[in-house]
Every structure is written in structure tokens, then in C-alpha cells.
């Protein structure tokens, strides 16, 4: 079944089916939630291996608490995002004394095709994200990369919608400042 159709299904109902041992429901929920958690964690931490650990742990916690799930409380995906968010925060706190990776700028002379250039830009943005304060980074990733609504983000970050708007706006401003010097180097002027 295509994902577009699956996303219409109520996640809480799917979770209840997982508890009954429905393998297909588990597959659908995994496909709905796990890739987003992986992307979010990878961007939060800048490390794919750690992001995979967090995805597995967050999903495992969802399965474990599935029998006690209260229908109508929150979407399971929101709950998993909250868990992943806390796990990311824990990891970031643990690694804080070490220097975070500096952005690796692209060698623009060597990037021949647009595909490689686009990948380099994506990498530049993800490196720039690492320089944002944690809360701003969370808000920007969820709003502009996961394309969630402000109320959804507010539920995940456990803050008000106004706080989400403020975090997103400040995050974007900071990102613009960080990336300002790289726009020409990353070929955006050539695309125009």
C-alpha cells in the first residue's frame, strides 16, 4: 500500500493493532514514523550512526508502551518525536566538551554536476544547523525540513506555539547569517 494512503490511517488504531500482533500495522507505523525520526536525529546530531541508534531506541520505546497507550492523548508520532528529541539532547549534553565538527565547505571548482552541488548545499545547511542553539535547531528542522505545523512542533518541544514561531524565526535568521558567505560558493548565483 502506498505511503500516501497509509498516512490517512489513525496511528493510534495502528498501534492498537500492533499490540494484537498485526505485523502489517507494525510495518505501516515503522514506515510512517521511523524515517522521519532518523532524518530529524541525523540533523540534530550530525551523525548518522547515532541517529540510527536513537531511531531504534525511540521506536522500541513506542512498541513497549503500546499496550498502555491512551487513545486521544497525542499522536504516536508526536510522542516518538518527543522521545527522540530528549535522546538527542542527552547525547548532545554528553558530547558537549568536545569540539563540534566545523562546516566542510565544498570545493566549488571540482563540483561538476548539479546533483553533486545540491548534495554539497544540503551538507552545508546541515553543518550550519550544527552551529545553531539546540532549541532553534529543533524548531527549524521540524518546521522547514520535516514540514510540521507549529502546533505539532509545540507539542513535541512542549512549549507554546508563539515560542515555536520565535525559535523558528531566530533560527532562520542565524542560519541566513551563517550561510550568507557561502551562497555564491555553493552555486546559487549560477542557478539564477
Amino acid at each position: 500500500m502506498p505511503l500516501e494512503m497509509r498516512s490517512d490511517l489513525d496511528q493510534a488504531t495502528l498501534l492498537a493493532r500492533v499490540v494484537q500482533g498485526d505485523r502489517q500495522a507494525a510495518e505501516i507505523l515503522t514506515d510512517l514514523i521511523a524515517p522521519r525520526i532518523l532524518r530529524y536525529s541525523a540533523r540534530m546530531l550530525g551523525d548518522l550512526t547515532e541517529a540510527e541508534d536513537i531511531t531504534q531506541e525511540a521506536m522500541f520505546r513506542l512498541w513497549r508502551m503500546a499496550p498502555d497507550w491512551t487513545p486521544g492523548a497525542a499522536q504516536p508520532s508526536t510522542w516518538v518525536f518527543r522521545v527522540a528529541s530528549n535522546l538527542c539532547t542527552d547525547r548532545l549534553r554528553r558530547r558537549r566538551p568536545t569540539q563540534e565538527a566545523a562546516p566542510e565547505l565544498a570545493d566549488t571548482g571540482a563540483s561538476a554536476n548539479a546533483q553533486m552541488m545540491a548534495r554539497t548545499r544540503a551538507r552545508a545547511l546541515e553543518d550550519a544547523l550544527q552551529q545553531l542553539p539546540e532549541r532553534q535547531r529543533q524548531a527549524v528542522i521540524l518546521r522547514h525540513l520535516e514540514e510540521m505545523s507549529n502546533p505539532e512542533i509545540a507539542a513535541i518541544l512542549m512549549v507554546g506555539v508563539e515560542a515555536v514561531e520565535s525559535l523558528t524565526a531566530r533560527g532562520k535568521r542565524n542560519l541566513s547569517a551563517i550561510l550568507a558567505g557561502q551562497r555564491d560558493a555553493l552555486g546559487y548565483e549560477d542557478d539564477d
Partner: protein, 132 residues
């Protein structure tokens, strides 16, 4: 914000937003994907975590008495011994001198021994024989 200032800053802001939107677009297009092995592991975890709910372990309640017996055997034994001693003292030692009057002669000697022992233990003979 001063109107003149807004007019001069509007265009760069717009450019910045547009440029950032393109960065976001490229990042979305090159996002990391879930590895099939990890996907499979997560699904297996779901199935495994559902197993206890589907097949709850049968309640094999052990009979209560072996545990009860094990817990109470020593205190019970001690209480029994103490009770027997107490009963002997109340039932035999205390009234013994009175009974001894009517007892056959051959029982006097053993009962005297018992009386001596109980006298040492409680330090008091039968109050009825103290001649208050």
C-alpha cells in the same frame, strides 16, 4: 520600524528567505534514508514486544502451603517447645507439691527433681504452700 528603513531592507530579507528556502529544498532532497536492515529490526522489535500481550504467561500459582510451611517451620517449632514447657510447668510443676500428697511413693523422687528444677527456673514455689 521606520518606513524608509523598511523599504531599503525588504529586498535583502526577501533574497535571504528565498536563498534559505533553496537550501532547505536541497537538504530535503538529500535526506538520509532508513536502511532496510534497521527497518527490519524495528519491525521485529514490534512483533516481539507484542508477543507477551498475545500469549500472556499462564498463571501457574504455586500451592501456598510449602512456602507457608518453610516460613513458619522454625518459629512454629520454637513456639511449640516453649508452649510445651509452659504447659508442663503450669500443669505439673506448680501443683506438684499438692498432688504429691496423694501420689504413690515411687513418684515422689522424680517429682522432687522436677520441683527443684522449676524452683530454680522461676524462683518461687507454689504460692499455696507459702503459708501466707
Amino acid at each position: 520600524m521606520h518606513w524608509g528603513m523598511k523599504m531599503t531592507t525588504e529586498r535583502p530579507d526577501h533574497d535571504q528567505t528565498e536563498a534559505l528556502a533553496r537550501f532547505f529544498e536541497d537538504a530535503r532532497a538529500h535526506a538520509p534514508a532508513l536502511r532496510p536492515e534497521l527497518r527490519r529490526t524495528i519491525q521485529q522489535q514490534a512483533v516481539l514486544s507484542a508477543l507477551p500481550a498475545r500469549n500472556p504467561p499462564k498463571a501457574t500459582a504455586a500451592p501456598w502451603w510449602p512456602r507457608w510451611r518453610a516460613a513458619w517451620s522454625l518459629p512454629g517449632l520454637a513456639a511449640g517447645a516453649l508452649g510445651a514447657l509452659g504447659a508442663f510447668w503450669i500443669g505439673v510443676s506448680l501443683p506438684m507439691p499438692v498432688l504429691a500428697i496423694d501420689l504413690p511413693v515411687w513418684l515422689e523422687a522424680p517429682l522432687t527433681y522436677v520441683d527443684l528444677i522449676s524452683l530454680h527456673l522461676i524462683g518461687l514455689d507454689d504460692p499455696l504452700l507459702l503459708e501466707f
